[in-house]
Symmetry: C2
Subunit: 276 residues, 2 copies
C-alpha cells in the first residue's frame, strides 16, 4: 500500500468514485451565495445527511480539486495554475484548499502521480542491461514533457513520494541492476546515479526552454560565447558561438546508455563514444 500519503484521508475514498468530478458550473456564481447550502461533493446522502462523520461537511473533495487543477492546466497552461485561480475554478475560498492539500507542492506531486499512472507500461527487454536503460528512459520521458514537474523532482526525498503506479520504473532499474550481478546496495547506487543524471538533464532543459518562451527581454545577453578570452579558455573560445547549438542537442539516450554500461558489471558491449 504505497499510497500511504493519503494519510488521514482514508474516508476520502468514500467519495473517490466521482473521480471525473462534477463540473462546478456555478463557478463565479457562488461568490454571491457563499457558505450556501450546496450539497457535499459526495453527491449528497439524501438531504438528511448523517454521513457518520462529525463536524461540518466538506464542500469539496480532493478528487474534485485534482480534476479542477487538470482542467485549469489543460485550458490555460500550467503556469496559470495558482492556488487562488484553482479556488476560483472550484468556487471556494483560496485558503480552504489548504484543508485538502498540505501545499502547492503536494498538489503538484499528486498531479504528477496521476499523470505517470496513465502512461503505458512498455514491454521491457529481456536483457537486464537493456531493461535498466529502458526503464530509466521511460522515467525520463514521463517527466520530461511536464515542465511543472521540474519544480518537484528534487523536493523532499525524490522517489519517496511517487506512488505505486510510478514505482515500477524504479523497481525495474533496481531489479535490472541486481540481475546484472549487483548487490541490492549497489543496485540502489546505480539507480541513484542514473536518477541524478536524469533529473539534471530534465531540469536544465526545462529551464533553458522557459526563457525564450516567457522572454520580454529584447536582448537576453549581448555576446557571451563569441568573445571569450582565447588565452584563458582557449578550447571554449574555439567553440565560441557554436556552444548554444551544441548544447541544444538531445544527447540523453547516448549518455544514459554509456552511464548504465559503466555502472553495471561486465564489460561494455557497445564501443564507447562513436560519432554515431
Amino acid at each position: 500500500m504505497p499510497d500511504a500519503r493519503e494519510t488521514s484521508d482514508a474516508r476520502e475514498t468514500s467519495d473517490a468514485r466521482e473521480t471525473l468530478a462534477p463540473k462546478p458550473q456555478d463557478g463565479a456564481a457562488r461568490t454571491g451565495s457563499r457558505t450556501g447550502s450546496r450539497t457535499g461533493p459526495a453527491g449528497d446522502t439524501g438531504r438528511s445527511g448523517h454521513t457518520g462523520r462529525t463536524g461540518r461537511p466538506r464542500l469539496t473533495s480532493r478528487a474534485e480539486i485534482l480534476a479542477a487543477a487538470r482542467r485549469l492546466i489543460d485550458r490555460d497552461g500550467w503556469e496559470k495554475l495558482t492556488i487562488r485561480r484553482l479556488a476560483a475554478e472550484l468556487g471556494i475560498g483560496a485558503t480552504t484548499l489548504y484543508h485538502h492539500i498540505r501545499s502547492k507542492d503536494e498538489l503538484l506531486v499528486l498531479l504528477l502521480n496521476h499523470h505517470v499512472d496513465q502512461i503505458a507500461h512498455p514491454q521491457l527487454p529481456d536483457d537486464p542491461r537493456d531493461r535498466v536503460v529502458a526503464a530509466a528512459t521511460a522515467l525520463h520521458d514521463a517527466l520530461a514533457d511536464w515542465p511543472w514537474a521540474a519544480e518537484i523532482l528534487t523536493a523532499d526525498g525524490f522517489v519517496g513520494l511517487l506512488d505505486a503506479s510510478a514505482l515500477w520504473m524504479v523497481e525495474a532499474v533496481v531489479a535490472g541492476a541486481e540481475d546484472c550481478g549487483c548487490t541490492p546496495d549497489q543496485a540502489v547506487d546505480v539507480f541513484r546515479d542514473l536518477w541524478y543524471y536524469t533529473v539534471g538533464e530534465i531540469l536544465v532543459r526545462a529551464h533553458s526552454a522557459r526563457r525564450p518562451a516567457e522572454g520580454t527581454h529584447p536582448a537576453p545577453r549581448g555576446a557571451s560565447f563569441s568573445d571569450l578570452d582565447a588565452t584563458q579558455v582557449p578550447r571554449l573560445a574555439a567553440i565560441g558561438d557554436r556552444w548554444p547549438e551544441l548544447a541544444a542537442r538531445d544527447t540523453y539516450p547516448r549518455g544514459l546508455r554509456a552511464f548504465a554500461d559503466a555502472l553495471l558489471p561486465h564489460a561494455p558491449p557497445t564501443a564507447p563514444r562513436t560519432t554515431d
Copy 2:
C-alpha cells in the same frame, strides 16, 4: 572578456574600487530623511559633483549591494536574503535595487560568481582523464556547499552566466576530453553529461537536506518504504526502510569517475563497480 553581462554598467567600474563597501551605519536612520543629501557611493567627488555622468547620482553601487548581501547571508543565513531585507540593510527603498540588478536571480548569480572566484585553483593532474574528473569535482564542490546556488544552477543557459574566474573548470573538462581524443563537439557532450549528473546530485541533495531543517511537520510521512507491496515491487520491498540510509551516502565521486571513464575514449582503466 567574459564578463559581458556587466552590459551597460561599464561605468560601474569607476566606483568598483570601494568593493569592501562603506558600511551604511545609518541603516534605519535614513527612513526619516529620505532622498536626503547623502553623498554618492563613490566617496563623493568633492561636493561640487561633476562626475561626467548625467542624471541623478546614485546613492548605492552594485558593489555595495553585493557586500551587503554577503553580510546578510553571513549573519542571518541565505534563506533570509530577501529583496526587502537587503534594501533595509542598505537603507534604501526596496524597488531601488532593481535599478542595480535585473532580478534576484541575477543577484544570486553575481554572488555565486564572487564565491567561485575566491576558491583556489587546484593543481590539476597531468593525465587528461584525471584532469576531467578533478575539474568536475572542483565544480561540484564549489557549488555543493552553497544551498542557495541550487536555485540558480539550472536557470537560463547554465554556464552562460558564469564569469571568467569560474569558466576555467569548464575549460578544463572540455580540454581534458579533447586531450583524450574527443573532437570539440564530443568534448562538449562530455561536459554536458557530467554537468547533468553533477547538477542533479547537487539539487537532490540540497532539497533533501532542506526538509529536516525547516520541518515543523511532526510526522513527514507515516511509512513510505517499510510497507511496499512485495508482489508489485519486490526489490524495493526487500530494501524497505534501508532506502533512506542508502540514499544518504555520498556516491558522487565514484559515479563521476565511472561516468567520465565511460564517456571518454579508451577502455576504462579501473575495474567498474567494486564494492571497495
